[in-house]
């Protein structure tokens, strides 16, 4: 008797557990991408891209296209409630893969917009944050021929470029890490249109949460070599007019060291680059030629890295994290003192290059 009582009580508990609102995937509107645009100093326009499954039946999965919902408001919360009022299904953040900010908006500061995402546990830490040079709403509303679902296209474009080419690893975690770290400034991938194709144009460089400048895709390779422990990328050098070569999978890593000259910190960046020639325009590629390329590569990397560092110093931004390098090598580091030192910091660049082989033909 007693056992029956206990069992029936347990069973009733089991059924009561069902009182949580269910979330059936068909009845949700999963946001795949979002974009924010500048309206005026107070207001932003948000656009979300949700997939719509057209003409799908049991035999034919149909085409996935994207639809958008937009709203204008002061804060993210305000915008969200407006969006909900425009959507027949419940909007869900959990599949959100990339968020775009228009250039104009980024220049005014975007921390508050990012912060709302970092508070939401349903948003993943690998979510991409991107800066787009134009209007993000028209981008999300556009239909590209190559991939009808624009949100997926954007995400894959950036992921491909991070994995195989010159884009350093980014996501919301990396942005927030750099935003909060002393002696480091954040960066985000910078996208734009060239003709009718979406393209990764380089990196948007931030000071705090305000975008101040961009660097090109070529500079982005150098950038990646300087900030990541192991990085691979593509690099092209030219000997003469018709004599150029491309290095695919050029592996680079940088070691920093610090010493003092007359009481001022001097940072030395030792870049080691190793790679294979994969494209060559000339006729024969012999030992001498490879040697020539090696020297040329070394010189070019050195001057370009120096220029890049100089550029950041002139802009008074530190996306390379040079301050962080100094901070972790100094006792009782003082952020304010560093801020005054940084623009005139002496940075030595040393480059070492190795060319492993010249492809499969001579």
């Amino acid at each position: 008797m007693k056992r029956i009582k206990v069992v029936s009580f347990l069973f009733s508990m089991l059924f009561l557990m069902g009182c949580v609102p269910t979330e059936v995937i068909d009845e949700l509107q999963l946001i795949h991408a979002a974009g924010y645009d500048y309206i005026d100093g107070e207001q932003v326009e948000a656009t979300v891209s949700v997939p719509s499954y057209k003409g799908a039946n049991q035999k034919n999965p149909g085409v996935i296209e994207s639809e958008t919902i937009s709203a204008i408001g002061n804060t993210s919360k305000d915008i969200r409630s407006q969006m909900d009022s425009k959507s027949p299904k419940k909007l869900e953040n959990s599949k959100l893969a990339s968020v775009l900010y228009s250039r104009k908006l980024s220049e005014g500061g975007i921390f508050e917009l990012i912060d709302t995402f970092s508070r939401d546990p349903s948003v993943g830490q690998r979510m991409l944050l991107l800066v787009y040079e134009g209007n993000t709403r028209s981008l999300l509303e556009s239909h590209l021929t190559i991939e009808p679902e624009i949100s997926r296209y954007i995400t894959e474009l950036v992921e491909q470029n991070t994995e195989y080419t010159d884009l350093p690893k980014t996501n919301i975690h990396v942005f927030l890490y750099r935003y909060h770290q002393e002696g480091m400034d954040p960066f985000l991938p910078f996208l734009g249109m060239s003709e009718d194709k979406l393209q990764v144009k380089g990196l948007a460089i931030f000071k705090g949460d305000k975008m101040v400048s961009t660097i090109s895709m070529d500079e982005s390779f150098l950038f990646k070599a300087l900030v990541e422990t192991f990085s691979t990328g593509t690099y092209e050098i030219q000997l003469d007019k018709e004599d150029y070569a491309t290095f695919m999978n050029l592996k680079a890593r940088t070691k920093y060291s610090l010493h003092y000259e007359v009481g001022l910190p001097v940072l030395t960046a030792k870049v080691k680059a190793e790679g294979a020639l994969s494209e060559y325009s000339g006729k024969t590629l012999d030992e001498n030629k490879i040697q020539e390329f090696q020297v040329k590569l070394k010189e070019e990397l050195k001057t370009e890295i120096e220029q890049l560092v100089k550029k950041f110093q002139e802009l008074d931004v530190d996306p390379l994290g040079l301050g962080f390098q100094v901070k972790t090598r100094t006792r009782d580091w003082d952020m304010d003192r560093w801020a005054s030192l940084y623009p005139d910091l002496k940075v030595n660049v040393e480059v070492e290059t190795t060319i492993t082989h010249g492809g499969i033909s001579e």
């Binding site: 508990m13 009182c19 690893k169 927030l176 909060h180």
Partner: protein
């Protein structure tokens, strides 16, 4: 003197490792790196080690008290302080243990609500836990130990999960070491010892161990395992988050889990939090078992009925504490009390017992 525990209810000394470790590792691991970093920034791992060693010393002290007293805390308190005062002290200690159980349960309920089921009401989660705990405890101490054993095994996923965030780790952030001024060490150690407080449970389960005197090394080993886990988790959190980012993260371990992507599962935390729900279970089972047994000995009442009453008390209380602020305050108060019990009451107890021994009054008391 108390009734001796029947031999079939005893557990082997090795199990003390799991009992100690299961009691220490709980909801605290999910959030502690942030608190140490607040006191001592990224030198906080030093405090993790030092406070772990201090805890080892306290385990030795507790064992010393129990060895001399040859029984549990209730009989020792009774012998040293007399029936009334002794029982009052034991009662307060047990009530503290009960409130720890409550805090653990309520804090983890909050984790489930924030991370997985925002709409699930508190009572539903606590009810499930209370039923599970009842089911385990009612079958006796050996089942509780079994739960602890599995809790410890499951908590090992933490080590695996730390591999995931390595991709984004900035090891340089730990440098330069020993950069913090000397006066930050004490507050940081004081904060950190709170994460090791579970050791008081030994006071109750000591008589349930076969040849309990031999289990000291297992207790120390269990504590060492906790130190190791805390150390790895704090290292991982320090190199994964930047300082200001960490201070804005309530549950660093959970946020780190968010970056892990498995081929078959996009979000690791949805797997890890349910596993963690079972790591929490030994805390609750052991806490309730210890308090119900303790109250039984003090008031000479039925343990089964006591357990049901305690479960109801916990169930009702956890519904009362319904905001983040309240839970936080409850957490602070309980750990504050726990600190004083461990580092004031236990040393006093130890000294009083020593003095009694020297005075020779112990022998006369024992017969009485």
């Amino acid at each position: 003197m108390q009734q001796p525990i029947p031999a079939r209810n005893l557990v082997s000394p090795v199990m003390v490792l799991f009992l100690i470790n299961a009691m220490q590792v709980g909801v605290g691991v999910l959030g502690f790196p942030r608190y140490v970093a607040e006191d001592m920034e990224y030198d906080g791992w030093i405090a993790v080690i030092v406070s772990g060693l201090i805890t080892s010393v306290m385990i030795w002290v507790i064992y010393d008290i129990l060895k001399k007293g040859n029984g549990d805390i209730i009989s020792i308190n009774k012998e040293l302080f007399g029936k009334w005062l002794g029982h009052t002290l034991s009662f307060l200690l047990l009530t503290y243990l009960l409130s720890v159980t409550m805090v653990v349960l309520r804090t983890f309920t909050e984790v489930i609500q924030v991370w997985i089921f925002p709409n699930l009401s508190t009572w539903a989660i606590t009810a499930v836990y209370c039923l599970l705990a009842y089911y385990c405890i009612v079958k006796g101490f050996r089942v509780v130990v079994g739960v602890c054993y599995f809790g410890v095994l499951l908590s090992l996923i933490t080590y695996l999960s730390l591999i995931g965030p390595i991709e984004f780790m900035e090891v340089r952030a730990l440098l330069p070491v020993f950069n913090q001024p000397a006066d930050t060490y004490l507050p940081a150690i004081r904060t950190m010892v709170l994460s090791y407080l579970g050791i008081k449970m030994v006071f109750i389960f000591y008589p349930f161990i076969k040849k309990p005197e031999t289990s000291l090394k297992w207790a120390l080993l269990g504590n060492a395992l906790t130190i190791f886990m805390y150390l790895l988790v704090s290292f991982a959190a320090f190199i994964y988050f930047s300082p200001n980012q960490l201070s804005a993260t309530i549950w660093p371990l959970l946020t780190m889990w968010q970056i892990i992507e498995l081929p078959f599962l996009e979000r690791f935390e949805y797997l890890a939090i349910p596993i963690w729900a079972l790591v929490i279970l030994p805390n609750i089972c052991l806490g309730l078992w210890a308090t119900s047994r303790g109250y039984k000995l003090i008031f000479s009442i039925n343990q089964h009925q006591t357990l049901i009453v305690l479960l109801l008390v916990i169930f009702c209380l956890s519904i009362v504490f319904n905001t983040r602020d309240l839970i936080d305050r409850l957490n602070t108060i309980v750990s504050e009390v726990g600190f004083y019990i461990t580092y004031v009451f236990i040393p006093i107890l130890w000294i009083v017992q020593k003095l009694r021994h020297k005075g020779g009054s112990y022998e006369t008391n024992q017969s009485g």
